[in-house]
Amino acid sequence: MRTYIIRRLLQAIPTLIGISILVFAITRLAPGDPVRLYTFGALQITEEDIQGLREHYGLDKSLPEQYVNWLTLAVQGDFGKSLQYNRPALPLLLERLPATLQLALVALVLQLAIGIPLGVVAALKRGTWIDNFIRVFAVAGHAIPTFWIGLLFIIIFAVGLRWLPSQGILTVGKDVWDIPDRISHIIMPAFVLALGGIANYSRYLRTETLDVIAQDYIRTAHAKGLRERSVVYVHALRNALIPMVTALGPLLAVLIGGSLVIEQVFTWPGVGQFTYAAARSKDYPVIMAGVMVASTLLVVSYLIRDIAYVVVDPRIKVR
């Protein structure tokens, strides 16, 4: 088990290197010179000053040289200073990480709490209108553009009914620990973000449950006179849940990638929104730190999923 975890950790290294090359290539090959962009309109600036700035930021070296320099500093957590805020980029982003994690975790809980029961109910009521309804929902939940649902929710629940706030993480001026206020802010974005996962889990669990309840041991459980409830929850559900761990992977990607769009719709002050703003103003250090933070989050989530899979399913032999 320990060797498996170590091996899996080592495997993450080439992935992270690959990501860093990709991001570095995209940002450095982009047209437009960040130094010119930031000195634009500054009339007194001379060619010399521009050259000086370029040297200061190391933009005058060759690309591989720039990459190695950047990587050496990046592994130490130094992604350079934000061109916009003139502060180190990584701390700026890490300040926004809790907001993104909060949103993703609440969405994950919602996915499991809604998706699993839906899937089980659909399987148990197979062929009825409930089943059909849940199956349609399972496809529709994937196909619906989240930003559109987000907008409609804002229009209905925030503007129309005035039940929930339309943006932000906390009402301005409220205490940071004002939990009810926080909950009212997180409900809509988290639910919208969870929608795809709810659909996915319900669909997945329906198939798994149908598979499991056809097994002999379920018939045995019925035959020895167990109540329906304990057959379903103790015998069927536990086994149906095992393969769900694999489904977690793509869903985590959706959570982290999707949060960028949702954060934008609900003005949620997270990593995605900040990276988006940085991309729009060509703030290279923040862009690179942002993608690296989001990707590291994803790599770590995959790691946790893979380890969880081995822990949950004793049938899997660890090589």
């Binding site: 080439p14 992935t15 992270l16 690959g18 990501i19 990709l22 991001v23 995209i26 940002t27 982009a30 047209p31 437009g32 399987a123 197979r126 089943d131 199956r135 496809v139 529709a140 994937h142 196909a143 619906i144 553009p145 989240t146 930003f147 559109w148 649902i149 907008l151 409609l152 229009i155 503007v159 669909r203 329906r206 198939t207 149908l210 990607a253 982290i256 990638g257 999707g258 960028l260 769009v261 934008q264 995605g272 990276t275 988006y276 991309a279 729009r280 060509k282 862009i287 942002g290 993608v291 989001a294 990707s295 994803l298 790599v299 995959y302």
Partner: protein, 306 residues
């Protein structure tokens, strides 16, 4: 199922004297799947209407996608004039005509990029699965790397820095989203290359390229169509999200995502403008997913859900 099909059509079976093939069986099952047929027809109608956008704009709605009418801004949905069937936007432009043009962009990007994904994905999957070893390691490294960057982050950065044209955007999406296909084809190839018919082909001296294209590819091809349908839907969703964030196709070209951004800023004046672009995306993607599901059930009934 297959025997029932053959029995139901004795004349046809007699005529050809061959057992019904994969595609015939699939088509037979598909015809019975009403939901899939309805989705496919909806897709085709949407595609044709978008392709005929200039014609429809000229002859039915009597306007263009750019023609403004500042006297009837925020027009309510109405049949008179027909150009305001879905209402008019903040400049009095016809919503329905702009939706049709937006459909051209979305469907073009979706299908062309998905085709590129499939091509790259299948090629790399075959190569990785067949040769294994070092080549497989390299390709797997690419796949895990791309899978570990949230795609929307990459797209947003690329779009913000390069301000790409619609065509360039298509190519970038086409080059980025192939990992799922590769994983699938690679897995299948792994399994297939151990089978007797592959060994037989190798024994009689067939070169790797021939084995891959003539012996392995036909076995994975059917389910590739399923992946393609779902891929197109996913790409359309991604593109519309990008356009919604103002980073999709260049401004000026109507697109479903940017129409939504527009509508969102004027929703207190014209809430109906928020409905139609979102619905257009939703219906298109839903139909593609349903067609994908239906195709899978038809091609491989063992996988049928429930």
């Amino acid at each position: 199922m297959a025997t029932v099909a053959a029995a139901a059509r004795p004349v046809e079976a007699e005529k050809r004297k061959v057992a019904a093939g994969l595609w015939e069986n699939a088509w037979y099952r598909l015809r019975r799947d009403r939901l899939t047929i309805v989705s496919a027809v909806t897709m085709i109608v949407l595609g044709l209407a978008s392709a005929a956008a200039p014609l429809l704009a000229d002859h039915v709605f009597k306007t263009t996608e750019l023609q403004q009418d500042l006297l009837s801004t925020y027009a309510k949905p109405t049949l008179d004039p027909p150009k305001y069937l879905f209402g008019g936007d903040e400049l009095g432009r016809s919503q329905i005509v702009r939706l049709l043009y937006g459909g051209q962009i979305s469907l073009f990007i979706g299908f062309v990029a998905a085709f590129m994904n499939i091509t790259i994905g299948v090629a790399l999957g075959l190569v990785a699965g067949y040769f294994r070893g070092f080549i497989d390691d390299i390709i797997t490294w690419f796949v895990t790397t791309l899978n570990s960057v949230p795609t929307i982050f990459l797209l947003i950065i690329f779009s913000a820095l390069f301000s790409p044209s619609a065509l360039l955007l298509t190519i970038v999406i086409g080059v980025l989203f192939w990992t799922g296909v590769t994983n699938f084809v690679r897995g299948q190839t792994f399994a297939l290359r151990e089978r007797e018919f592959i060994t037989a082909a190798r024994t009689i001296g067939a070169p790797p390229v021939r084995i891959m294209t003539r012996h392995i590819l036909p076995n994975v091809l059917p389910l590739i169509f399923v992946l393609m349908a779902i891929d197109v839907g996913t790409i359309i969703l991604a593109e519309s999200a990008l356009s919604y964030l103002g980073l999709g196709v260049p401004p000026g070209t109507p697109s479903w995502g940017s129409m939504l951004t527009n509508a969102a800023s004027y929703f207190h004046r014209a809430p109906w403008l928020v409905i139609s672009p979102g619905l257009a995306i939703f219906v298109t993607v839903l139909c593609l997913y349903l067609v994908g599901d239906g195709l899978r059930d038809a091609l491989d009934p063992r996988l049928k859900q429930g």
